[in-house]
């Protein structure tokens, strides 16, 4: 699990964000079983109460589901998965727009630069935390 927890954002939100990215990119597949709360807390070295809160929140948002005493699973609801993906894309685009606007880059120039640089940067994982 490569997630770097920063100390200023609420930890539970960072955990949810991480799961959303994994769901959107298909690393976590629909219906896939996920770690227990304690396993997650242990892997990420975070407070178990925080892991619990992240799971509760994800359950409420329909990102994961739990049947009885079984381990929680990733949602099979394709509408939700699609929404997650769109939400992440929109977030990234808005961040991009805000940063190019702050240095007065016209739309055309920005689009040109995107086209030019998009292929050059195949990793895509950089700065992804």
């Amino acid at each position: 699990m490569n997630i770097k927890i920063n100390s200023r954002d609420p930890v539970y939100i960072q955990v949810i964000q991480y799961f959303k990215e994994q769901i959107a990119t298909g690393v976590l597949e629909p219906g896939q079983e996920i770690s227990s709360r304690r396993e997650l807390a242990n892997k990420l070295k975070i407070n178990p109460n925080t892991a619990q809160r992240a799971y509760k929140e994800m359950e409420e948002q329909g990102l994961i589901f739990t049947e009885g005493n079984l381990p929680s699973r990733i949602t099979k609801n394709e509408v939700i998965i699609k929404q997650v993906r769109e939400e992440l894309i929109l977030e990234a685009v808005n961040t991009f727009i805000a940063s190019v606007q702050s240095i007065n880059v016209p739309l055309e120039e920005a689009i040109g630069l995107i086209k030019k640089n998009y292929e050059k940067n195949p990793g895509g994982q950089e700065g992804n935390q």
Binding site: I5, S7, R8, D9, P10, V11, Y12, I13, R38, A41, N42, L44, K45, I46, N47, P48, N49, T50, R53
Partner: protein, 229 residues
């Protein structure tokens, strides 16, 4: 819940605690933060009734501490209190003789968790392993509350990580922990509540996740504000 209510403590003329109040919930990790000499250890001693206070009150689950309370709360001091010639297994036997709440299964589990050899003598252990044995002797008690005094100080990074792992395991789950430290970075994401102390008073008591959420600040940001204001 442990409730510390307005306690004061003087050593001679020196006021070490000057009206300290805070609470620590069961199932949560509460961290007392402050530089050396602000009274962190004195507070733990006071909770355990190992030192008399001059005024104020301390309640554990609504009761003042009494004989049976020692079966549901334990104190892990910053240095091991067992005799150096004892083997780890002797130290465990010693605890078993004293406490009904001693849980040998959990002790055995901790031995393998920390990769210790029960036949080693305390005097032969490295500093890091001594700290782990010290933790083990407290953690193996079936108590509701654990007080830990500076469990991370003076030990290497891998031992610190191993000890930090205890906090996310079932070994601590559901119990109330009060931990003191002057070095927060090892456990920044592990604690529920921080209590900032200075000169025998509580400067601020806050929930770490709430401060991140409502103010966008890390624990260290808050410390900077409070201590350098």
């Amino acid at each position: 819940m442990i409730e510390v209510k307005d306690i004061t403590k003087k050593f001679g003329r020196k006021k070490v605690l000057d009206g300290v109040s805070f609470t620590a919930n069961k199932g949560e990790i509460t961290c007392l933060i402050g530089i050396n000499g602000v009274g962190k250890t004195t507070i733990l001693n006071a909770i355990m009734n190992l030192t008399p206070t001059n005024s104020g009150e301390i309640l554990i689950d609504g009761e003042k501490i009494h004989r049976e309370t020692y079966e549901k709360i334990t104190f892990i001091p910053d240095a091991i209190t067992m005799l150096p010639q004892m083997r780890i297994t002797d130290a465990m036997q010693f605890m078993k003789d004293f406490y009904h709440s001693w849980n040998q299964n959990r002790a055995d589990e901790l031995i393998s968790f920390f990769k210790l050899d029960p036949n080693d003598r305390i005097s032969s252990l490295s500093k890091g392993n001594t700290a782990k044995v010290n933790m083990l002797l407290g953690l193996a008690l079936d108590v509701d509350y654990l007080l830990m005094d500076e469990p991370f100080s003076g030990i290497d990074i891998f031992s610190r990580e191993q000890i930090a792992d205890v906090f996310t395991s079932h070994l601590v789950e559901g119990r109330g922990v009060i931990i003191t430290t002057h070095e927060i970075s090892d456990i920044e994401h592990l604690i529920d509540k921080a209590v900032l102390l200075n000169d025998g008073v509580v400067l601020r008591e806050f929930n770490a996740e709430e401060v991140r959420e409502n103010e966008g600040k890390s624990i260290i940001d808050v410390m900077r504000e409070v201590y350098q204001a």
